[in-house]
Point group: C2
Chain length 186, copies 2
Amino acid sequence: MNKMEKDYIEQTISSTTIYEGKIIKVDVDKVRLPNGKESFREIVHHSGAVAILAISKENKVIMVKQYRKPLEKTILEIPAGKLEKGEKPLDCAIRELKEETGYTASNMSQIAKFYTSPGFADEIIYLFKAEDIQPGAAKPDEDEFVELVELTIDEVNELINDSKIIDAKTLIALNYWQLEILKKRL
Amino acid sequence: MNKMEKDYIEQTISSTTIYEGKIIKVDVDKVRLPNGKESFREIVHHSGAVAILAISKENKVIMVKQYRKPLEKTILEIPAGKLEKGEKPLDCAIRELKEETGYTASNMSQIAKFYTSPGFADEIIYLFKAEDIQPGAAKPDEDEFVELVELTIDEVNELINDSKIIDAKTLIALNYWQLEILKKRL
């Protein structure tokens, strides 16, 4: 731990659990700030998730359209899903890709990990790249309704430019794909 | 609205507010699924935020190190902050860049918008690019402790490859910068 991190730590004075649900747990922590004052931090705990950048033999990215209740709209995302208790991210990525899209991959490797909203939530997403994918039958969860969409890099870039792709993990994955393609051309 | 969106909508049967805090409001909505069954959705409401990709005359990106209580660690991010009630994203971007880093920009334009965690939260981030920036004195909030860091694109790429940059909005902004640089070289 370097000097800066030590100085800036917020010590927990007390923690109150406000809600414990199926997906999230909400705590309010009373903290001691670096300047000695007290403050409160509202924290959403989440089990973490995986997302998968899967590119087909035809050089198309596998995406899903899904209704997202918090936004009250249907958006376009890469396949993703929550980690089950004790589940390894790699196993989760293999499982979620199959469940949501039917695809299985000969090779699945982690390419990034990131926190989605570090100001108020601890959700982490492990991003995987699936290679040599084979189509098959999807097996969505009983409360999950998704539609498969396959897009070329040009279609993806048009959708990004038109602000039609508005999901953070999806933008990170698609930019990764785009960077990979551009670097090959340099 | 196309056929798919209509079919997949989850109708709200009832909504219960569990918590109303300073930063987040937590609701549990009882919904009717597309298959007619009932389910519950846990939803975190957030006022939205801005983030700023600011590049200096020396071609360095302006970043901040900040302790994030939900993660219990200090991470490296681009400047960002929450929208105040009724505040326009552009005004918020100008204000937050000044408060957190002291920099002011001659030109500030929106380059993306995205939802950080559409599965359980409605937080949206408007990403701006600040151009022709001038240094000045920072004015952080009284419960905000940040340290300024300025990095070249090579330093950024090394940190990304080493998984030292692990914030979603920051990865999106830095990939945007990287793509811009690569496209100029093609």
